[in-house]
Amino acid sequence: MRGAYDQIVQRGAEVVAVGTGDVEYARRFVQDESIPFPVLVDDRAEAARAASVRKVNFATLLCDPRSFRGARRAHREGYRVKKSGKRVNQLGASFVMGPGSQVRYSRIDEHTADHAPLEELLGALPPPAA
């Protein structure tokens, strides 16, 4: 997402990340990873519940071969999880919202290595204003 951020902003849009954990942890993440977009903390899972973000049981979390393959690929590519979030069994999700009260795109991840393709997110953005 960081790599496409300038492109997204040029389209008149913003990126907002919502995570679990505490604000200090999120702040360190933003600094360490040079995150250019807003990062918010959903400490009580209010946003996750309203957005219908899925949770899985720990057996699925640990044993889903898709998650295992994704974790192995990420590890090979140098990604490391420094600290697990407060709700490790909560999956991710991606939405394109607005302007106004509308959902242009919705994707709830099926497993831990599942993520919305960037081209789908970009394709859901409205055309830039003339």
Binding site: E14, V18, D32, A51, G98, P99, S101, V103
Partner: protein, 39 residues
């Protein structure tokens, strides 16, 4: 998704300030990403 409820949620940003979600996309589109963990 319960859009009305989602838009009413206020979350704290790394700036320490509350942010009402619906305000974030009131006037421009937003790619909203739910992360499993930070980093």
């Amino acid at each position: 998704m319960d859009l009305d409820s989602l838009e009413r949620v206020e979350l704290t940003g790394v700036d320490g300030q509350p942010h009402r979600l619906g305000d974030l996309w009131a006037h421009r589109p937003v790619i909203l990403i739910f992360l499993r963990h930070f980093g």
